[in-house]
Symmetry: C2
Subunit: 225 residues, 2 copies
Amino acid sequence: VASFLPKPVQKLIDEFSRLPGIGPKSAQRLAMHLLHSPDTRVREFSDAVSGLKHNVQFCSRCWNIAEGELCRICADSFRDQRQICVVEEILDVVALERTGEYKGTYHVLHGALSPVDGIGPEQLKVYALVERVQGLTLTEGTTETPVELRAAEVQGRGLVEGIEVILATNPGLEGETTALYLLKLLRPFNIKITRIARGLPVGGDLDYADEMTLSRAMQGRGEFF
Amino acid sequence: VASFLPKPVQKLIDEFSRLPGIGPKSAQRLAMHLLHSPDTRVREFSDAVSGLKHNVQFCSRCWNIAEGELCRICADSFRDQRQICVVEEILDVVALERTGEYKGTYHVLHGALSPVDGIGPEQLKVYALVERVQGLTLTEGTTETPVELRAAEVQGRGLVEGIEVILATNPGLEGETTALYLLKLLRPFNIKITRIARGLPVGGDLDYADEMTLSRAMQGRGEFF
């Protein structure tokens, strides 16, 4: 970009360019748009950015965003705390909440396993999930025992009633890997573990679907009422 | 969007959505990206937004952005002040400067004529352009005479040497209309008025070009050396 632009303008263009999905051209257009906007609009925008993290934190239970220690869903006594839907991102919670059907809680991993990008279980909220599940399966006060031992302790008992972990990671390579990893990790707890259905999207066209989706749609076929 | 998102997060999503070319989905992703960014990054961004108009104004001569009264180009004594390239937007100046070939000055209209959108000459920096051209053609101190009279005064004399207005508005309907309008308006000043060439883009494919472009490319053909 030509250096003749005033520094403050160039700086904002650079900042916009650093955001994901915004190329240098879009960054220029956005900066120009704000330059032509009234001062109050620009102030509203900068206030919104600087205020973003004001009173916003991650839920200590599910790692969703929250205004207090717990997010609105975890704090809601009408939500089933024994049903945990595991998702990759906060926006997945937003998407699922939009359906208005799910009445359980969530667990946000903040990513998916991706060895190529150096993302292992430690980079995700996996340990927090194991702890949560364990907390649900163990009602007695043996909270000092390490996780590994407690998992072994639970193992061998019958299926713990009423607890369900729904693995709702994305149906791509990384999401499937993550789901399989979590399945292995949570199996010792003898709880119900499910995976969201993969198949044809509603409104989709069968002959436009890729082979993987079609194959999943066939495998997952159900009785037709 | 689900209302369960904390207010500051929702507010930033709304602000992003108001920017041109950013849909609700992108706005969500951008807000989430900043939410996951370190506080210093978020502060850098909000500072860049709030500082955008700091010491930034429009050049009093050409309406480009400037840090002082004149923009860097108008203030540059090596640039030919008698050559004025008329463009629609500041970003057009950036694009032309990137070629590094043009040594004259610019005039930014801040838009193009569009009766449908209610944009007439009064909404653009047209009058400022006429005044500039007139200032160049008249060297004597008759600065008190109204524009219309002075245009008439100049009319009838021979072509004023060395002055050129290059109409570099976009080659679309609105840009062409604007160029034609300016041509009519500036003709009485007896100066050289040119229009940027329209033709096939370099690297373009002849059989992919639209009819208008092809027709322009044929009309504008030049001797081949």
